[in-house]
Symmetry: C5
């Protein structure tokens, strides 16, 4: 009896892993991610958690000599101020006391200390009392969570020294710089502290492209998915990617202003010969922004495509259902006509009456199919 | 009889708390809120209601000494003009006579008096006759109504004094400043009146982030709701939030111009040493504007998501209905065929005729289900 | 017989006042209004209809004395040119001959005469040969037609005189100015002609807010209507309001440029002391533009809301229809099965056979309702 | 038999002039027009077809005398270079040889010759070697094709001469200028060659408004059509009009830059006294651009309106169909119940059994109609 | 039996080449193309594949003499640095060693070498140490793949020499230049190296128009397809074209900045007499950007059109199905009524009862058709 068809049909539909795929999508959309993106609060008193561990590394070099050290505490770095060589002090992990100690020693303005300790700051540059300060984010692509992660980095460029403050000791993008520094012939060794700062910014910005490449790969995969089997998950993914593009945009557009600020700056710390290097970063960051606009455009047409596909698929189903129902309707009517209990119904007692009726039941749908086809409705 | 199914089905649908949820949403959309947002009218003669109560507090301080007072009327504040210390006169509650009295005494231009007394002004700054004037709104988040509330504040910076005019005595954002002023070692005590003004603007702008954080939380909750069980209420909430974002935008974008105006200003009242502090506020307000643009983007994709979910859900229902109807149509036809009253119908007198007919009735839908599944229509 | 249900049902639907409400909306959308908005043609030879009546009023005053007159013709106003007092000549109604006569006498450039006589000009300011010229529109809200009406006004500021040309004698926004002029102590009396010009512009701009307040009220009413009972009329109203917002925008954005032009101007006619007053108008007009952008945003989300409501309502209806049809389909099939004329049909001769069949007919829909509810489809 | 209804119904639908209106719209959308709009190719070697006929007219005048001539060839115009009067040489029809001959004689730079001979150039102005060059398009509205047609015109302003190059001898917009030149008292006669150039530009820009007025009329008609009886043709028309607005925009926005270029120019050819005239054109062209933005906005809301109307109409039809089908479903079920062949069916042998059944068939739909109405579904 | 109709109908639908056309579109959408467009990564160490072959051609000329050579290696080109004639060295195929060798010899800065070797660079210009550097892309239209292909070209303009670096030896756009150089009378021969550089840029930009013309042709064809028989392939094509427009935009907008940079440049390498030539390119590139904006607009309305067409077609089908189903429903009911087994059914034993029933079955749909037509539902 059809009731079993019903039951089986309904039960099939009830299998949660299939059904839920369409209607409930708890973690898929990543509202947690929205929270992370939106929770930006650079209040004056930074509520930054103190780092568990603070690592201090230093490079002290000139054209001839180089000394690389792991220091036990920030105070050990104080003497670099008066070394005649160029010093790069890298501090991984931010603790209020440490940051304040070293900053005060190197003459960094309290406002900048606040910035270094703040969280979720907008990238910016500043020149305060003989020091050039850049704050921006290094971006990493987390393959597991498929998110863009950011780590704040502050770069303080002073006379003959660069101090960098990173949040996380586990990773940064400066390894190529470390390699080059060890080469006495590298330009980094021959030039001044501003060239060191340039190299850092250059590595950070170049790393953006690696992140964008990963995002580009995901966009491409997603586009293929949307085309082949659009389901609600696709829209969830489109939304997720859009959020990552927001993170990307938030980290690239202000960096353009940052570099433009350096280019406009008339600080004595910046050697005119190096302007072309910063201009080179500027070109790169502009290209990154352009590219992320392209990403955005592609995402928008992907969403259009998705909606269109879902509708087309749905329409296809509904159309077939409507056509089947419609094709069978005449047969129902004819069945009803000859099922009436009138005494006098023509052909009822005819030997071929039944076959004539069934024949009409067949001919009408066939003729309808022919008509529909002619109009291109299939 | 099916009529009872009908009745019960209909009655179930009629339960107002369920049905109305979809179609009538009287207060949910908050048209009242629209009225509040739109009723902006800075005409020349301000129709401000006179405050019921006017509270006047003063701080009179220099690096060594500080005096905090509650004054009984604005006239008591006149003598601060000639005190050699820095004075902060805070007036809670606006009455025309009082505002005019104190303004005239401190040499504030009549146009500024109009601004102070106006309602729903756009944030702005002005330099008129040796006085620097800032008008902006403090924002609070009302948890009950889930709206952004604003309170107008006027800050008048003169030589050695700051006068602030607030609408509402019950709350402001200056408590941290009061604490700091009482500390003789705080920078606020060491510096001039412009630093006092800076601290106020900074506190106001920082408070915007608290409001935005609350809005961010609501956006996140709303996003989860939209994903889990989109109903019409969700759209109402999206619309409400959008209105709050309009309020937010209206209060942040002009503040950027305000701070930029101060940075460009060449007033003698502003010490060059403090420029970096104002630049810091500028960075914060730019970040707030950026962030509210992000909010906006997220709201837009949330609305897309909502519409998509509603459609998907609806489509799902319609599809199942259409499929069920379609699956049963062949059985109806077969029933009709063998219900015809022709004399000669094959198998009619066959012992297994009935079972053959019922069998066909079952086989066709099963075959159809198989076909539909193959095409991925479930 | 069901045919009567049909007939009555159809006839009910045919009642034109109900049906037409949805499909034909002759005047509701106001295509006439579109014509008015679009017919802008500032060709060189203005095709302005000559005014039926020209009214000339004058105020001639200094700090001590004031003389208010109704003049019989424009020629009577000629002698004000040489009066040592400040003169305001207001001409209501534009006739080519009159405008040319007075303009030539007061040294107004022929190009400006063309502007004065033109229709549908874009607001603008100009400095030509010692004269400062402002052309803009006064806006009124027509409560009956619910449209924003505009009346062109030209203000010519010369040395010690202001001439205003209005189209319509019946109304203007200058009454508060007239009152103030009669007060010897008012600032308008104490200052020069440029202050008179400022007061006019200020009154015109302030009046924009009154118009916007009316529009704001309509937006609020409309929003409530859209939420409560969206019908096609709502969309018509949304479209109408959008057109009015176009009119508003067209009249406010260029006025900002006009005032900015005055602020930038280095004309001798403008006293530096009055700059702050013009800056005040500038702030107001910027706020008006901001606000009308907010209106626009709200209109857009209102339209989204409308479309969503219409779809939701439609979907609700279709869903119930589809569900009812679907619920009854199994009963039809069962009826068909036991209506077949096979000799051997089980239970056919059973005493309770009929009740078993009817029972199944009831159980299936009840079970379906249960399933649908479980899935949240009602 | 219902089959005939079918047939007639189908045939009615097949009438091509009705059916095709909806689905195939060969010429209606004007893809040909797209081709014309898109085929823009200002390559260095212009592939301009040589004009069949070249007409050369000249005006040679000063304040006292004027001489109007039709010249037989461009060489006849050479002597105007040394006439002491102001000369306007108008060349209708472009032939490479002619353009080069006269340009070389009058000292026009080869690059400008290329521009004159190019096709589909963007409007622009240039100052090259003592000559001021304007290239723009005259627009005409073709009532038959309902398109905006353009004719390129190059204006070369030199010392005491203006040479104009037009594509088409049949029409231009300079007749009012010709009239005015013949009047010795007209300003055109009294002033220098730059005033002549101004008058030309002014006439061209003013003519844009005539074209826009025609477009405005069409927009209005279209809006009425969309409101009254939206069909697919309406969308085609909206698309066509949008294309014309693209043509309009392409010809107005660069003209603003052209005029701005003249205003900024410090060429000796331009008398400072005439700046205000060019500023007047600038105001006009800005207004034209504003207006065409308004057109654009109205087109967008018209398209929204169209889509909404089509959907509403469709929904109305579907709703009625669904309701009718739904209303008749219970009757089918009841008919089925009493059509079953059980031995024991209550009321079957009752005298009024039939009427009771039919009565239930009627009561249920009536009750349903009542319920639906109560919910406002009709 | 209807089952065969079913089967045939289903099978017809299953023909993959028809069905898949709607739902699976593997290569059609070109996700591969997305990958190409998105993979932009100008990191510092270019991962450019070494060219298989490097071709070096040189032109060494002055007004009197010209020497064209194919050189065997880049080192052969070194002596051109000291030739007193103007030299154009064209290098097809990029190998790191070669590029570095020649660049070092001609004094090209290492940063520029990096740029030359980079891939997917954004077009840009730079002035570094007496050399003017332009990097941009030549565009070709690939008729087979229907894509816009790009080939990077670097142009280095020095004192009396131009060096061009191309990726691909097979094609470039400089053939007209080569022809002209061989003519002693051509301007290219008479002027300096900067004119040579101008000619190159001019040829590259002019070639953009050829590419755009091809794209324009495709847009036109696509528009016709969308109008005539919109299917899902159309949307795929719209998406493809949009991607090509992204490529186009990415290559034109920065070129405008490049040319603007040259115009602003005060380099000694640029002869003031040639400014007008570069200005001419500037005009062309602005026109190209304008035009590609127009393309974009047309694509957007094409997509609107497509969606509308798909919906209209679908609606048409659904409407007819719903109407047919609805028209037959009354006949089913009537059949059911007279099929009931009551003893007393009026007209059952009447001779014409059957015909009366069938008559009603016919009359009701006819009347319905009449009603529907009256309301314009067909």
């Amino acid at each position: 009896m059809p009731i079993f068809i019903y039951l089986s049909f309904m039960n099939v539909k009830l299998k949660p892993e299939k059904y839920l795929r369409y209607l409930y999508l708890p973690n898929l959309f990543g509202t947690q991610r929205t929270k992370e993106i939106l929770s930006v609060n650079p209040t004056i008193i930074p509520q930054r958690e103190e780092a568990k561990e603070v690592l201090v590394y230093s490079f002290d070099y000139d054209g001839q000599t180089i000394e690389e050290k792991r220091l036990s505490c920030v105070q050990d770095a104080f003497y670099f101020k008066t070394s005649n060589r160029i010093s790069w002090i890298n501090i991984d992990g931010l603790r209020k006391a440490d940051v304040e100690a070293i900053s005060t020693h190197f003459g960094i303005h309290p406002l900048l200390i606040e910035d270094i300790l703040s969280i979720n700051q907008r990238p910016k540059m500043d020149e305060v009392e003989g020091v050039l300060f850049c704050l921006l984010n290094m971006l990493y692509y987390n393959n597991t969570k498929q998110t863009v992660e950011q780590e704040q980095i502050s770069i303080v460029l002073g006379k003959d020294f660069v101090i960098t403050f990173q949040e996380d000791a586990k990773r940064d993008v400066f390894n190529p710089l470390r390699e080059r520094l060890k080469l006495g012939t590298s330009k980094a060794r021959q030039r001044n502290a501003d060239y060191l700062c340039y190299t850092m910014l250059d590595l950070i910005v170049d790393n953006y492209f690696l992140v964008m490449e990963k995002l580009g790969d995901r966009i491409e995969l997603l586009e293929e998915e949307v085309i082949r089997h659009s389901n609600k998950r696709s829209l969830a993914r489109i939304n997720q990617l859009r959020k990552e593009l927001i993170v990307l945009k938030r980290n690239t557009v202000p960096v353009r202003d940052l570099i433009a600020g350096i280019l406009r700056s008339e600080s004595d710390l910046l050697d005119d010969r190096n302007t072309k290097y910063f201009k080179d970063i500027y070109d790169h960051i502009v290209q990154a922004i352009d590219l992320s606009d392209n990403y955005r455009d592609i995402m928008v047409s992907m969403q259009d495509l998705y909606i269109n596909n879902v509708n087309l698929k749905m329409n296809e189903v509904m159309k077939v259902m409507a056509i089947v129902t419609c094709l069978l309707a005449p047969a129902t009517v004819i069945g009803g006509i000859f099922g009436m209990n009138f005494d006098a119904i023509p052909y009822l007692h005819n030997q071929y009456g039944f076959w004539i009726a069934v024949g009409i039941m067949l001919i009408i749908p066939i003729w309808m199919i022919y008509m529909f086809k002619k109009r291109g409705w299939f």
